[in-house]
């Protein structure tokens, strides 16, 4: 409470310092981006939720249908549950394989090996590539007839259709996505590790902790802000995953994802905008759950500071 009154007093003091010109500058330069964000991001997001309760096809009148779209989605739309499963699998794969691997590489490089700059650049390189290019490279490597992997395996009678076989193509896509994700995670953790106070590690070593104990009990907990960010990036990237499967086969035949279903329903010939928006709303709610958790953690950290 005393803190609050102090802050209010401070605010009053600063409020007096603003001239009319200051207020105009603040109004215009804050107003434009806020307005832009409302028009481009928040307005459309809310409008999507609204549309999800209608049967709009993009041309005719908008009819209110209540929760029908959601009911259809859960009960009758064959692609929905596979897409949910694929998105969950994607989260699991990035979270349990790619992210820990990125952390592992960051720890190795942070220990001060030679050529660390070289390793860092090479591992980060895939992050700057466009997903269209990544999708193409997947085809070059994993093509059925002349792809590199099949040439090496040299099984001419029964070549594996890495991208077409619906039981393995999702795994190949997740590997390709991890190719980019690992480098991103590595760089974030590398920066975090550099800021850990070496005195902490020394103290732990003097107390007789071995390297593994030091890492899990001392280093990792101090990386909490990075952990939060990496966690959210992992989940959001998994929920956003789109370009890479779309570049390979438009997200069909085992590569269904929620983002692909939205695009298909909205842009596709059927133009079931109300229905597509219902899927979008599901994705929005799940994403917002993670985003809010992240921001609460993040802002709590900022306030402590």
């Amino acid at each position: 409470m005393p803190q609050k009154t102090a802050r209010r007093a401070g605010r009053r003091a600063t409020a007096r310092r603003f001239t009319r010109r200051d207020i105009a500058v603040l109004g215009v330069l804050l107003g434009i981006p806020v307005l832009l964000d409302i028009v481009i991001v928040w307005g459309p997001a809310l409008a999507s939720v609204g549309l999800s309760f209608t049967s709009w096809d993009g041309i005719g009148d908008i009819h209110w249908v209540g929760g029908d779209n959601y009911e259809n989605l859960v009960q009758d739309y064959p692609a929905f549950w596979p897409a949910v499963r694929h998105n969950l699998l994607w989260i699991g794969f990035l979270g349990l394989v790619a992210t820990p691997f990125g952390l592992f590489l960051a720890v190795l490089i942070d220990r001060g090996v030679r050529f660390s700059r070289f390793y860092q650049s090479v591992l980060y390189m895939p992050v700057v590539l466009s997903l269209a290019v990544v999708g193409f490279m997947a085809q070059l490597l994993l093509g059925t007839d002349q792809g590199v992997v099949n040439t090496i395996l040299d099984d001419r009678n029964d070549p594996v259709d890495w991208l077409g076989d619906s039981s393995i193509n999702l795994w190949m896509m997740m590997l390709a996505a991890s190719w980019r994700h690992v480098g991103y995670v590595m760089i974030l953790y590398l920066a975090g590790l550099k800021s850990v106070d070496p005195a902490l590690k020394e103290a732990a070593a003097i107390d007789g902790a071995n390297e593994r104990q030091t890492f899990f009990r001392v280093t990792l907990p101090t990386l909490r802000p990075v952990n939060v960010i990496v966690g959210v990036i992992t989940v959001i990237e998994a929920l956003r995953a789109f370009d890479i499967v779309y570049a390979v086969n438009k997200g069909r035949n085992g590569l269904e994802l929620l983002s692909v279903l939205i695009t298909d329903n909205i842009i596709g010939e059927a133009s079931r905008i109300g229905f597509g928006s219902a899927i979008a709303a599901v994705l929005l709610v799940v994403s917002l759950g993670f985003i809010v958790t992240f921001l609460v953690q993040e802002l709590r950290g900022a306030r402590e500071k």
Binding site: L36, M125, Q146
Partner: protein, 309 residues
């Protein structure tokens, strides 16, 4: 924060062995194993790129017969010339620049001011503003597609601004959406960066009677140059690589950005993958060059918001 990342990065680079196992660090065992492991992983990470380069240098007949993993008989750069002329890449590259350059500049300007207001001016609801922008950047873009599409079709533009007469199918649409979507990330990173700047300079300026604009433009912004350079390279890569927005908001094939020019290299019945490889490398080249040239900034840009000491 940045300073310390960079200082460490610099000192690690030449890495004399004495420093690595310096005071307080026990001598390492298995360092050789670490090198072998990291080299193997690096090779694995580079392999797709190297194979694409290799494929692009070889004629289709040869790889069709022997597969991509075979010894070369003939190597040439012919496919690069062909890919460049056949896809009309020069034009699409210009389209991308028309979209990316203004988008990056305006995004950074607006985001810098919001970040300044949130981090350095005592205004009401600064936490809310920060959340409002950051959360917006993290939403999945597909959620926004329909309402924006409808909205853009309804907004008319004069002929001199857009030959389609609407905001739809114009560069403006893609530029505006990119700005609106990317401002959030930049606000987040820049506000974190600005919090680490010493407050005294700003306080001195306020005592001297500097207004909000002077505090922002003359005092704070020059100190943010490293962060802004980092974000500029980052944002340029992201907007350069984007193809979702252009796919949705642009219908005239002459206005598409460079990421979609690769489709011109796919034949209706037959696709020469070696040609496509050359095309992909040409498309990826600017981002790889930007990354290699501005590497240190680039990496610092990603880490700015995350490491808070």
């Amino acid at each position: 924060m940045t300073a310390d990342i960079r200082a460490t990065a610099r000192s690690v680079e030449p890495a004399p062995p004495a420093r690595a196992s310096g005071p307080g660090r026990p001598p390492r065992r298995g360092r050789f194993g670490v090198h072998i492991f990291l080299s193997a992983v690096s090779l694995l990470f580079l392999a797709p790129l190297l194979l694409a380069v290799y494929a692009s240098l070889r004629p289709y007949e040869e790889t069709a017969q022997h597969g991509y993993f075979s010894f070369p008989k003939k190597l040439s750069f012919d496919y690069y010339r062909e890919a460049y002329t056949e896809s009309g890449m020069g034009k699409y590259f210009m389209n991308t620049l028309i979209i990316a350059v203004p988008a990056v500049i305006i995004t950074l300007f607006l985001a810098a001011f919001v970040a300044f207001a949130v981090a350095r001016v005592n205004i009401r609801g600064s936490l809310f503003l920060l959340m409002f922008f950051t959360a917006g950047n993290l939403l999945p873009p597909q959620v926004l597609v329909t309402p924006l599409y409808v909205l853009f079709l309804k907004i008319d533009l004069p002929w001199w601004m857009s030959d389609s007469m609407t905001l739809y199918d114009s560069y403006w649409a893609v530029i505006i959406v990119n700005i609106g979507f990317q401002v959030g990330f930049c606000v987040f990173v820049l506000s974190n960066f600005m919090r680490t700047l010493p407050k005294e300079i700003l306080e001195a300026a306020i005592v001297d009677g500097a207004g909000v604009w002077t505090q922002f433009w003359r005092i704070t912004l020059p100190l943010c140059r490293p962060a802004i350079a980092a974000l500029a390279t980052l944002e340029f890569t992201w907007i350069y690589n984007d193809f979702l927005w252009a796919l949705i908001f642009i219908s005239n094939p002459d206005k598409l950005p460079i990421t979609s020019s690769l489709n011109n290299l796919r034949g209706q019945f037959f696709t020469d993958y070696n040609l496509l490889a050359a095309g992909s490398i040409l498309v990826a080249l600017p981002t790889i060059l930007v990354f290699l040239l501005l590497q240190r900034h680039f990496i610092a840009g990603l880490t700015l918001g995350s490491s808070k000491g």
